[in-house]
């Protein structure tokens, strides 16, 4: 599997993505500078976490308009898997590749901690190494992760099974207490209709090694490796 990681000014989880991709696939991904119009051939494109353009104006808004994104959008539409983590998820909603928006957390504060997620489906390229309905631990670290969409969009997202992950309690409940940021329907991650684009606020690349406290995040990457070789 050959991956490409897009680096925007202000990205800061690009190295973390590279580390985990290298560990899992045995191959270092291509690191692509945002200003480049050319994107190398890739089986997977990763939009990493961070604060592209300082998160100024709206998180992800300026990155969504950088030259490289035109190419990313075209590839996504042609079916190339695109994984947006945290800021990458925000960029994906700003481009319209994923519906809805990520607003300021309801506490208005940045939150960094491990959260429990329910893996909604395991029949996608991103989740085949998980059990369906599995409860996993993956950290979040964001200020703007409060997922919002209008009722119609929400109904469609739910109806088509586009929710990838939800924030849940240890026992899997959708309690409000388990919802760290106020997201509607506790949504933590979302697919596009075709299932090739995944945006998620939690950081799987940060919990992919026992030394860091867990390995639940690694399965996203092993799933992709299996699905894409």
């Amino acid at each position: 599997m050959k991956a490409a990681v897009v680096v925007f000014p202000g990205s800061n989880c690009d190295r973390d993505a590279k580390t985990v991709l290298t560990q899992v696939t045995g191959k270092a991904p291509a690191m692509v500078w945002h200003g480049d119009a050319e994107l190398p051939e890739a089986d997977l494109i990763v939009l990493p976490g961070g604060f592209s353009y300082g998160d100024y104006l709206r998180s992800g808004a300026m990155a969504a308009h950088s030259p490289i994104m035109r190419e990313v959008i075209a590839r996504a539409k042609a079916g190339t898997p695109v994984l947006g983590i945290c800021n990458g998820f925000q960029v994906l909603t700003e481009t319209g590749l994923l519906p809805g928006v990520l607003m300021r957390n309801r506490s208005l504060r940045f939150i960094c901690k491990d959260v429990r997620l329910k893996v909604e489906r395991n029949d996608t390229i991103y989740t085949r190494s998980y059990e369906a309905g599995e409860i996993v631990t993956i950290p979040i670290a964001h200020k703007d992760g409060n997922y919002f969409a209008d009722d119609e969009t929400l109904a469609r997202v739910e109806g088509e099974g586009l929710v990838a992950f939800r924030y849940v309690s240890e026992s899997g409940g959708l309690d409000d207490d388990a919802n760290p940021n106020g997201s509607q329907h506790n949504i933590a991650g979302l697919y596009n209709e075709r299932g090739n684009v995944l945006g998620m606020m939690p950081h799987p690349e940060r919990l992919a090694e026992p030394a860091l406290g867990g390995t639940d995040g690694a399965k996203i990457f092993t799933s992709l490796l299996e699905a894409l070789h």
Partner: protein, 582 residues
């Protein structure tokens, strides 16, 4: 006067109030006049006032700091550069320093704390290191004080927003509350970076005829007089000094970090220095002084954000996210390409000379022509009078506890001991994916990327002890830091410190300072735990009420194999608990 002096249009006399406003005593002003053989220009007065301020010159503390142990086989760079450096083996080294941003954080908690974090990170990456861990030691007034809530929330979000945006994990710190900080909170930020020990960058501008290069953000009128303000006692009129607040731009600093590291991978930098307090003045003076050269700046070339900035304003501006470099001749285009790629300003603004003078030109006029020797090493040094203070540790009437459990409950409910999760959850403590011990334990630990080695970091001091006995309290702070490092399985290597005290012109405050330095020195010597960098913040006093002496200690240790790291959590049923020590 040397032959090289240039024609300066100096006034006949400067008004006394102006001199006083610049924080210069009549004696100090007389020294300048004597040194120059004439009246200084306003720009020169500004330059001298910031260079001779407590903040830049350490004039009250210098003679005492010299007594601290700073050596050891593990020390690669002791005090004197932007940050200290210790050896981690295998060619790896850790760079670290702690710094205060107390006064600015009281005036504007969010921006003050944010720019404090930005400043300490620049100190670390100026040396060529990638910052890998931040810590912060915070002291607030009593939780009941009307301002405390606002200050806590502003400071914490300022620290978080800056460090989070930079992508550097904040892996710990400490937070205390005490009414004696009501009018003077303390915000001490520490940063640890990693580099290869044969790739350390220093500030000396060695060589004549070399280009002096400005990079980063544009210069505005931010923080003018910040350095003198940071060294002046507060009174109720200080609200008037408000427009001096600097605003931090972590996004630009992130670009500056990446651009600097990219350029540092090439072999073109002779000296580099961040523009912190007293911006262009202190950075250029320091570089020239360390390199034993003169420097001439053409302010027409300085990238400015605002119109009609005067030489005085440009020399004293504390705009953030800026750096000064001296490059090998001919390397300018290569460097410029890198900074342009990162969308940062780049300008050649001067040249090193053999005159030993600090010459500032602006719009065809010579605005300053000062001997460098007078600015840096020639700054005043005071042996301020001090009186020892009797230890005040005799226990007062303490009501008897009604049983250990209720005492424990009461203790856990105190603001000083309660959980600090609300704070550290606002800091990204996992970015960089090398945090192997998160906040909540005795020390934070990050891995040396790509290895099994861990760097442990802890910040400690108990101001209550120091108020009782500054000597024993400082000793205890060093020892506690040492214990916190060993308790995660690290070999303690060295410390940085941030000495926060009241007005040193009061002999009893100076006495506290002297005692704390002696205590620190004794503990560091006993533990072979040298001081490799540090910072002094004096005049933490409002309307005559001083803070308790607060010598904050930031320690760094090495864990050879993080797999063998010790944890706080009890791992298994049936584990045996053992108490060691007495």
């Amino acid at each position: 006067m040397s032959e090289a002096t240039q024609k300066v249009d100096a006034p006949d006399e400067l008004p006394e109030e102006l001199i006083a406003e610049h924080g210069l005593s009549p004696d100090e002003y007389a020294r300048i006049r004597k040194e120059l053989g004439r009246t200084p220009t306003l720009t020169e007065l500004g330059i001298v006032s910031v260079m001779w301020s407590e903040h830049c010159s350490y004039k009250s503390s210098r003679i005492w700091l010299k007594t601290l142990p700073t050596d050891g086989p593990q020390v690669i760079q002791g005090p004197g550069e932007n940050a200290g450096v210790v050896d981690l083996g295998d060619g790896d080294a850790a760079v670290f320093k702690m710094e205060s941003h107390n006064h600015p954080s009281y005036i504007e908690p969010y921006q003050g704390a944010a720019t404090g974090v930005g400043g300490i990170m620049r100190d670390v990456f100026t040396m060529g290191a990638r910052p890998v861990a931040n810590m912060n030691a915070l002291r607030f007034g009593s939780p009941e004080h009307s301002k405390t809530r606002h200050l806590v929330s502003g400071v914490v979000s300022g620290i978080g927003d800056y460090g989070n945006c930079m992508g550097v994990p904040t892996i710990g710190g400490e937070t205390n509350f005490d009414a004696r900080y009501d009018g003077n909170i303390l915000v001490n930020a520490m940063c640890v970076g990693l580099l290869k020990s044969d790739r350390i960058f220093k500030s000396a501008a060695r060589g004549v005829g070399l280009p002096v290069v400005y990079v980063g953000s544009k210069t505005g009128r931010d923080g003018i007089h910040g350095a003198t303000m940071a060294s002046a006692e507060f009174d109720d009129a200080s609200a008037e000094k408000r427009p001096t607040v600097q605003v931090g731009d972590p996004f630009t600093e992130k670009l500056l970090l990446e651009a600097c590291l990219e350029l540092m991978a090439e072999d073109v930098i002779i000296g580099i220095q961040d523009m912190g307090a007293a911006g262009l003045t202190s950075s250029s003076v320091e570089m020239a002084d360390k390199g034993g050269v003169g420097i001439e700046l053409d302010l027409d070339k300085v990238p400015c954000r605002e119109e009609a900035m005067t030489a005085y304003e440009m020399m004293l501006s504390e705009s953030q996210e800026r750096m000064l470099m001296v490059l090998k001749p001919g390397a300018e285009p290569q460097a410029e390409a890198i900074f342009k790629k990162w969308e940062l300003d780049f300008a050649v603004i001067g040249i090193t000379t053999d005159t030993g003078r600090f010459v500032i030109k602006h719009q065809g006029a010579v605005e300053a022509d000062l001997p460098l020797s007078a600015l840096a090493d020639g700054a005043p040094v005071y042996e301020r009078p001090w009186v020892p203070k009797e230890p005040q540790v005799a226990p007062k009437e303490v009501p008897a506890a009604d049983g250990p459990l209720s005492s424990l409950e009461a203790l856990m409910g105190t603001s000083n001991l309660c959980s600090k999760r609300w704070i550290y959850e606002q800091y990204d403590h996992m970015v960089m994916a090398d945090t192997v011990a998160r906040p909540g334990g005795d020390a934070g630990v990050v891995r040396v990327h790509g290895t099994n080695k861990g760097v442990a970091v802890s910040c400690d001091v108990t101001p209550r002890y120091c108020a009782g006995d500054a000597f024993e309290g400082a000793k205890q702070a060093v020892a506690e830091c040492w214990r916190n490092l060993t308790s995660v399985g690290a070999d303690p290597l060295a410390i940085t410190d941030c000495m926060n005290f009241g007005n040193p012109e009061r002999p009893e405050i100076m006495g506290e300072f002297v005692a704390a330095v002696k205590g620190m020195g004794e503990a560091c010597t006993a533990l072979s735990f040298p001081v490799v960098s540090g910072n002094v913040s004096l005049y933490n006093e409002t309307n005559g009420v001083a803070i308790p002496p607060t010598p904050a200690i930031g320690g760094v240790g090495l864990i050879p194999d993080v797999a063998k790291m010790a944890h706080l959590a009890l791992a298994h049923d049936g584990d045996v608990l053992v108490v060691v020590g007495k």
